[in-house]
């Protein structure tokens, strides 16, 4: 498209370009040109600079609002006149070029062909890059599906994980596999690199682990030896991985650990208030370095743990996390933070609180993948019920009914039922991230202590502020809380106390109810 207020110039341009595979559309004013630009496809725009009304520079701005990359060639004689201001205005945009208005035919045609060809090449490259980006994103989502849920619970074990890939796909791997009744394998590894090849290795190792464990009752050194052979012989790999293998027996409260060049496991508990780590001087080289490497039984770290012990594992990407001053997280700082959290942090929130503390300290630039995994014994408690449910409305009724039985009176049972419905409806409907391929899961528990009932929910939906939601419900249309029906007022009217926290994407909501009938006037909200 050629735009010039002088029809004579447009005629000359048409005449020059005629018979050179160009189709030329012309316009003598900027507004018509903009309209045409929105309606039709043009490879390049030839623009006059000075025009009455909207000039060439203003028209470029309007075009850039629609398309930031379409090549524009200004045809002007003013650059030749030594107008630096004009030249600076032209080159303000990297997709804008200029030619002297009275240039020769060959130069004009060559310039147009060159600009259009370059733009087309860039377009093809961008499309290719977008496609690759889309495929990587999908690969990342599929990889996430292969990994355990952020929370896993059964009658023996509670586990929580925070997985932070540096790009779409990652070389971090972790698995919690039940070997026999109360015996579990905890495996955490880090394949060198964090691209597609690392992700493919990760998926292969994961499949290998599941197949291998069906055949045997392994010990950490056995598993590492077999994995090293698989890596060196069958995969004939040019890469390597670090790994930590722990066999945890919750019947006898014993853990056996060995590391292959991987950061040690931290073990701490509220009762002992002392954190310890598996011995980092024991264990062997990373897997895949040498096929001759032998992982020895004497290097297994053996430990009898108390009931309330929590095991914290990570990948070494955590030690690459930087703050804004480009200082990496020191191992001693990591240890100090982890130890400090042991006193008052439960297993399920541990990885997220740890990440939250690091972010508060300014460590949030992660050039490598990192993962935190926390594991503890699921101590039987007759005064507690807990569920792990998919974020689906159909899953609510069963939980509500189960929890309602904890009410001191039938009336309180009804209130609990209502609370569970309101809360879960809220976080499922309004907290959803539609783009996620992986189904979200929600942890919810109810616990009875003396005359108090506490309902606790952990989920990874969009954050919400219950106080704000309550104050705004029924407000102006367009207010997200007003239209969301988040039920905050109902939740507040039922409960004595509600607390809400969010750490690194994990939302924790606690509702406290006084057991038995209470005078509504005595209820306070915080």
């Amino acid at each position: 498209m050629a735009v010039d207020d002088a029809v004579a110039n447009l005629m000359i341009l048409k005449g020059i370009l005629k018979g050179n595979d160009f189709k030329v559309v012309t316009s003598t004013n900027a507004l018509d040109a903009l309209q045409l630009f929105k309606q039709e496809f043009f490879d390049v725009i030839l623009l006059d600079v000075i025009m009455p009304g909207i000039d060439g520079f203003e028209l470029r701005k309007l075009i850039r609002e629609v398309d930031i990359e379409r090549p524009i060639i200004f045809l002007t004689s003013m650059v030749e006149d030594g107008s630096m201001k004009m030249l600076n205005q032209i080159v303000w945009d990297s997709n804008t070029f200029y030619l002297n208005k009275v240039t020769d035919k060959e130069t004009l045609i060559r310039k147009i062909k060159e600009v259009v060809a370059n733009h087309r090449i860039r377009n093809v490259e961008r499309q290719r890059s977008n496609k690759l980006e889309g495929e990587l994103k999908l690969a990342g989502e599929l990889q996430r599906i292969l990994l355990p849920e952020w929370c896993e619970i059964d009658e023996h074990i509670m586990a929580s994980s925070l997985y932070k890939p540096a790009s779409h796909v990652s070389g971090d791997i972790f698995e919690i596999i039940r070997i026999s009744d109360a015996k579990y394998l905890l495996f955490i590894g880090d394949i060198a690199g964090h691209g597609v090849s690392a992700a493919l290795y990760m998926a292969t190792i994961q499949a290998w682990l599941k197949v291998s464990l069906k055949k045997q009752n392994p010990s950490p050194h056995d598993l590492l030896n077999q994995l090293n052979q698989f890596f060196c012989k069958e995969l004939q790999s040019s890469t390597y991985m670090t790994a930590l293998v722990a066999i945890i027996d919750f019947d006898i409260n014993h853990i056996s650990v060995q590391s292959a060049g991987h950061p040690p496991v931290f073990i701490g508990s509220a009762s002992q208030k002392v954190a310890m780590t598996s011995d980092s001087s024991r264990g062997g080289l990373p897997i895949g370095w040498f096929k001759e490497t032998e992982y020895l039984p004497s290097d297994n770290f053996e430990y009898d743990f108390p009931d309330d012990a929590i095991f914290i594992c990570t990948t070494d990407g955590v030690f690459d996390i930087e703050n804004e001053q480009q200082e990496v997280l020191a191992e001693s700082d990591y240890r100090e933070i982890t130890e400090a959290l042991f006193g008052d942090t439960d297993c399920l929130t541990f990885p997220y609180r740890l990440c939250g503390v690091l972010e508060k300290m300014g460590y949030f630039i992660a050039p490598d993948d990192y993962t935190f995994v926390a594991v503890s014994k699921n101590i039987r408690n007759p005064n507690r019920k807990q569920h792990l449910i998919p974020a689906k409305l159909s899953a609510i009724a069963e939980v509500a009914e189960d929890f309602a039985s904890m009410g001191a009176t039938p009336e309180q049972g009804v209130e609990i039922d209502l609370l569970v419905h309101e809360y879960l409806n809220n976080v499922i409907i309004h907290g959803g991230k539609q783009a996620d391929k992986k189904q979200r899961i929600i942890y919810i528990s109810i616990e009875k202590n003396d005359d108090v009932l506490e309902i606790r929910g952990l989920e990874q939906g969009a954050p919400w502020n219950i106080q704000e939601a309550a104050e705004n419900s029924g407000g102006e249309p367009g207010n997200s809380y007003a239209t969301s029906g988040r039920g905050a007022q109902i939740l507040q009217s039922i409960t004595e106390y509600i607390s809400y926290n969010s750490f690194c994407g994990l939302n924790e909501t606690r509702f406290v109810l006084r057991r038995g009938a209470e005078d509504q006037h005595e209820k306070g909200h915080h």
Binding site: D5, V7, A8, L10, M11, I12, G15, I16, P52, M78
Partner: protein, 107 residues
């Protein structure tokens, strides 16, 4: 001036004389439009900014069309507007209008 334009078109666009008609019409149209913009300036107070915009257009298409007389006058008017020199501006405007009349007579 018409002859100059035809000769120029023959060179830059490989046209035969009988193929130049629509180009001459386009030239006349652009010339008329510029004169229409000059008319209020000619009658009243001179707006030098406006004058420079019009002369830029005149310079552009007269050079592209090979109308060398008009090109020379437009450049002179543009320089006078830059000064600014009112007398020279008014003189060049009148000369441009005279050139237009001559071109119309020629056509």
């Amino acid at each position: 001036m018409k002859k100059d334009i035809i000769e120029h078109l023959k060179v830059i666009l490989d046209l035969r004389e009988e193929e130049c008609g629509e180009y001459l019409e386009a030239f006349a149209q652009s010339f008329d439009e510029c004169c229409l913009q000059l008319e209020p300036l000619r009658q009243g107070e001179l707006d030098y900014g406006r004058l420079r915009v019009v002369t830029h257009t005149l310079i552009g298409f007269s050079e592209n069309m090979g109308a060398m007389d008009l090109l020379a006058l437009s450049k002179s008017l543009n320089a006078a507007a830059k000064e600014p020199d009112e007398a020279a501006c008014r003189r060049d405007i009148e000369r441009i209008f005279a050139l237009r009349r001559a071109y119309q007579d020629e056509a």
